[in-house]
């Protein structure tokens, strides 16, 4: 077995035992390899799973590489563990979560301003679920708490980083007519 094959083997084992996304830096150190090299190996592994229609998938989420089961295996897995990883959020919670995601760091007051309703309860629920967290205080009188999304948020969304969120700008340029239609739709 050559070095590369051996490294791929160790890499897969490390990903298997990790209970969180593993950064390239950590993997590179463990494998004694360059980050770019490890990145290429991860992509190779990921492709391999895909090609052989495996029960596992490897993806870059929340700043690291993580093995998960394939979505198509979900019905069987859910039955097996008698649990669902599905999180159901209310419309208000989703709206608030979106605002935090795009506007972070953001104060509760600013969120309420955008939503037009008090958002304290819904914000607290998001904090309780680990999707949102306090990330600091604004340096203005009263020093209000600033909120941001957590790594778990990215993980739950399967995104490598915040920059992978869908772009907001095109939506902001949309006319008010569209906006109203949209609002009516989602209500």
């Amino acid at each position: 077995m050559n070095d590369r094959a051996s490294s791929l083997r160790s890499l897969e084992a490390l990903l298997f035992i990790s209970d969180e996304p593993v950064t390239l830096a950590v993997l590179a150190q463990a494998l004694g390899a360059e980050r770019s090299e490890v990145d290429a190996w991860c992509q190779e592994l990921a492709r391999g799973y895909e090609e052989r229609e495996a029960g596992l998938t490897l993806r870059n989420v929340a700043g690291g590489w993580r093995l998960t089961t394939h979505p198509e295996a979900a019905p069987v897995v859910e039955q097996f563990v008698l649990a669902s990883r599905h999180i159901r959020l209310t419309k208000a919670a989703l709206e608030t979560l979106s605002i935090v995601a795009y506007k972070q760091p953001v104060t509760r007051h600013q969120i309420s301003g955008i939503r037009g309703v008090n958002s304290e309860g819904v914000l607290r629920a998001l904090v309780d679920r680990g999707l949102v967290a306090e990330v600091g205080r604004e340096e203005t009188p009263g020093r209000p708490v600033l909120y941001g999304t957590t790594p778990e948020f990215l993980e739950r969304l399967g995104l490598p980083s915040l920059s992978a969120l869908p772009a907001l700008a095109p939506l902001l340029r949309a006319g008010a007519g569209d906006a109203e239609a949209e609002t009516a739709d989602t209500d």
């Binding site: 035992i17 209970d19 709206e95 309703v117 009188p141 869908p166």
Partner: protein, 256 residues
């Protein structure tokens, strides 16, 4: 105070004559009020008590005491107080800044687009969460064969250390940081209900009667705010014969 000087008057009385001197702002009170309503100054940074003291002093010195100016001042103070209550009170779902302020059509327009954009991406986020919910991670960690490599957790740890750790982990999380707020237990809704109940039966009463059952000053303040709210809605009429005199309240709404 009479109904002739209600906030509905076409011409807003000029409050510019009255100026304030505060750490956050020095200048005409009217300008301060505008800055607060435009949310350029945080209402929590303004001592309404100090402003009120200033206004009373100003009223005494003024040659002609303007009822309209006083009414306007009172209305603005009431809004600021309620804004402040809304900002400080936890879990207060009723009061919303914009309900009280009214918002310019431009701002409403801009915000409707922004909110619609967030609602659209919220749908995408929901979809992402749904899809991701179909993937399960392995939480078991390294296989049991590697457990011997785990550090000996009780090395250098005694029972007291363990208890301290338990206390930190098991302590119920503080719900809200209220260290900066004196707890407020009285709500506008309750106060409105109390006034409505009292006046609905008797038709009219003095303010003194309406607050006879109040235990704390804050309760009286909230009851007064409730009166102003009812006045704004045209449910009560207010009359005060002399400065600091008895306020007579007459029920204008339907009998309870």
């Amino acid at each position: 105070m009479t109904s002739t000087a209600g906030p509905g008057s076409a011409e807003r009385p000029d409050g510019g004559a009255f100026a304030v001197e505060l750490p956050v702002f020095t200048g005409p009170f009217r300008v301060l009020a505008d800055l607060i309503l435009e949310q350029k100054i945080d209402v929590c940074d303004v001592s309404i008590a100090k402003v009120t003291d200033g206004f009373l002093a100003h009223s005494k010195e003024a040659e002609s005491w303007s009822l309209e100016e006083a009414t306007w001042f009172l209305a603005v103070c009431a809004i600021m107080l309620e804004l402040k209550v809304g900002r400080l009170m936890p879990r207060h779902e009723v009061v919303d800044d914009e309900d009280l302020l009214g918002v310019s059509p431009d701002l409403v327009y801009a915000r409707s687009i922004e909110l619609a954009a967030f609602r659209t991406v919220a749908l995408e986020i929901a979809r992402g969460l749904d899809e991701e919910g179909l993937r399960f991670t392995r939480e078991a960690g390294p296989p049991a064969e590697f457990a011997h490599l785990y550090p000996d957790v009780l090395e250098d740890v005694n029972a007291d250390d363990l208890a301290r750790i338990a206390a930190v982990v098991l302590r119920p999380p503080p719900l809200l940081d209220l260290s900066h707020v004196t707890p407020i237990r009285y709500t506008m809704a309750e106060a409105v209900e109390a006034v409505r109940d009292h006046l609905g039966r008797l038709g009219q009463a003095s303010f003194r009667d309406l607050v006879a059952d109040c235990d704390e000053r804050i309760q009286i303040v909230v009851r007064f705010l409730a009166l102003l709210e009812l006045y704004r809605e045209g449910m009560v009429d207010l009359a005060q014969a002399a400065t600091f005199g008895e306020i007579d309240v007459r029920w204008e709404g339907e009998a309870a």
